[in-house]
């Protein structure tokens, strides 16, 4: 079982969902490791966004309100922290704010920057998974460190009615 292959199977599973849409930086243009994971998906399922992580995080919530299954991609863990205002203050609390009447689901994926063969320095290597876990109550946070975890995590992301953050590791791709 190979980490990279399992991740691709998981992404393919997400793409098979009729209402899924992959949003973020470098989904329609080349640029990051995530580009390779979506390059074979139909263009109608890809939406390139400006580098504006908070906008992207809130945008995803809005898409979900209208019936999309947004897969919001962040090429680095240190990028997603710029979207935390939306993730913590809105997505995590939306169901409670609406007394259970509205429950938008967003699938998020962030990648901890790889250390080899290029060392990107202190900022891109950061892993804030535990911090995320401590700040959310209604979003599942899954850290994928071995291949056997991957497909169950992606299946859960589809089956659950809760939003989910999947943390992957560039060094394992």
């Amino acid at each position: 079982m190979n980490y990279k292959e399992e991740v691709q199977k998981g992404m393919d599973l997400l793409a098979e969902q009729s209402n899924s849409i992959f949003i973020g930086q470098a989904v329609e243009y080349k640029g990051t490791a995530l580009t390779h994971q979506v390059k074979n998906f139909p263009s109608s399922k890809l939406l390139e966004l400006p580098v504006a992580e908070e906008m992207q995080a809130g945008f995803a919530l809005g898409l979900a309100l209208e019936g999309y299954l947004p897969i919001s991609l962040y090429p680095r863990m240190n990028f997603i922290i710029l979207g935390m205002n939306q993730i913590i203050n809105h997505l995590d609390k939306w169901k409670a704010m609406s007394c259970g009447m509205s429950n938008p689901k967003v699938i998020m994926k962030a990648v901890v920057g790889s250390r080899y063969p290029l060392d990107p320095g202190h900022q891109h290597q950061a892993n804030y998974t535990q911090a995320f876990k401590s700040m959310v109550k209604n979003i599942d946070v899954l850290e994928l460190i071995c291949p056997a975890q991957i497909m169950p995590a992606y299946q859960k992301a589809i089956d659950s009615d809760r939003s989910i953050l999947i943390a992957e590791f560039g060094d394992l791709y």
Binding site: G62, L63, L65, S102
Partner: protein, 212 residues
């Protein structure tokens, strides 16, 4: 509802609040009722409305009954009223509602980027209007001509802070810049509106009982 009915609704809430019967912050407005009544004449039942922490009047004009809005306020939900059946949402986070409205507006276009029918109306206060996140969202909506109407509600203050003195930029000048951009890009769907008003209430509460 008429401006007079809206004003009376807020006065009723203010009276209850001052008796200490609402155990949560309330954000009352005054002086903008006529503007809102005019704006909501253009808002249809299927349209989305996204609002701020001061959303009582917006909810009422979207069609939610005064009894229900009042009940939610009494139960402590004034600051984040949500009525999904009316396509109505609000947030207490400065500027935070803008990208959510933007995502919905994107969804309201079909695959050929043509409007399917409903529109979004996103209400924002003047300090929120100066924030980076709101400007990112407005620019994106202009660039893609999304079906969204941004409504800037300028009472000159953010809590008690003088918005223009603090930002150093006049809110109306910022509005004019974006309005010009909408003209330059010949947008058919994306619009921006602006009105100024003075409120007699403080940012939160009534100045009596307790401040949030």
């Amino acid at each position: 509802m008429t401006p007079e009915q809206l004003k009376k609704f807020e006065e009723d809430i203010a009276g209850i609040y001052e008796k200490g019967k609402i155990k949560a912050p309330v954000h009352l407005r005054d002086g903008n009722e006529s503007y809102l009544v005019n704006i909501f004449k253009d808002i249809k039942a299927e349209d989305y409305v996204f609002s701020t922490w001061a959303s009582h009047l917006h909810a009422l004009l979207k069609g939610v009954s005064p009894e229900r809005v009042k009940q939610d306020i009494l139960e402590g939900r004034s600051i984040t009223l949500h009525y999904p059946h009316y396509n109505f949402y609000s947030s207490a986070i400065v500027g935070g509602i803008a990208p959510i409205a933007l995502g919905v507006a994107y969804s309201l276009n079909d695959k050929q980027n043509r409007r399917k029918g409903p529109r979004c109306f996103c209400f924002i206060g003047d300090m929120s209007f100066h924030t980076g996140i709101v400007n990112e969202c407005i620019r994106y909506s202009i660039g893609h001509d999304l079906p969204i109407v941004w409504v800037v509600e300028d009472n000159g203050k953010s809590v008690g802070t003088d918005t223009e003195a603090t930002c150093g930029i006049k809110t109306f000048d910022l509005f004019n810049q974006l309005r010009q951009l909408i003209k330059d890009y010949q947008c058919k769907n994306c619009k921006i509106m602006y009105y100024e008003y003075e409120t007699r209430y403080p940012h939160s509460g009534t100045g009596v009982f307790v401040e949030f």
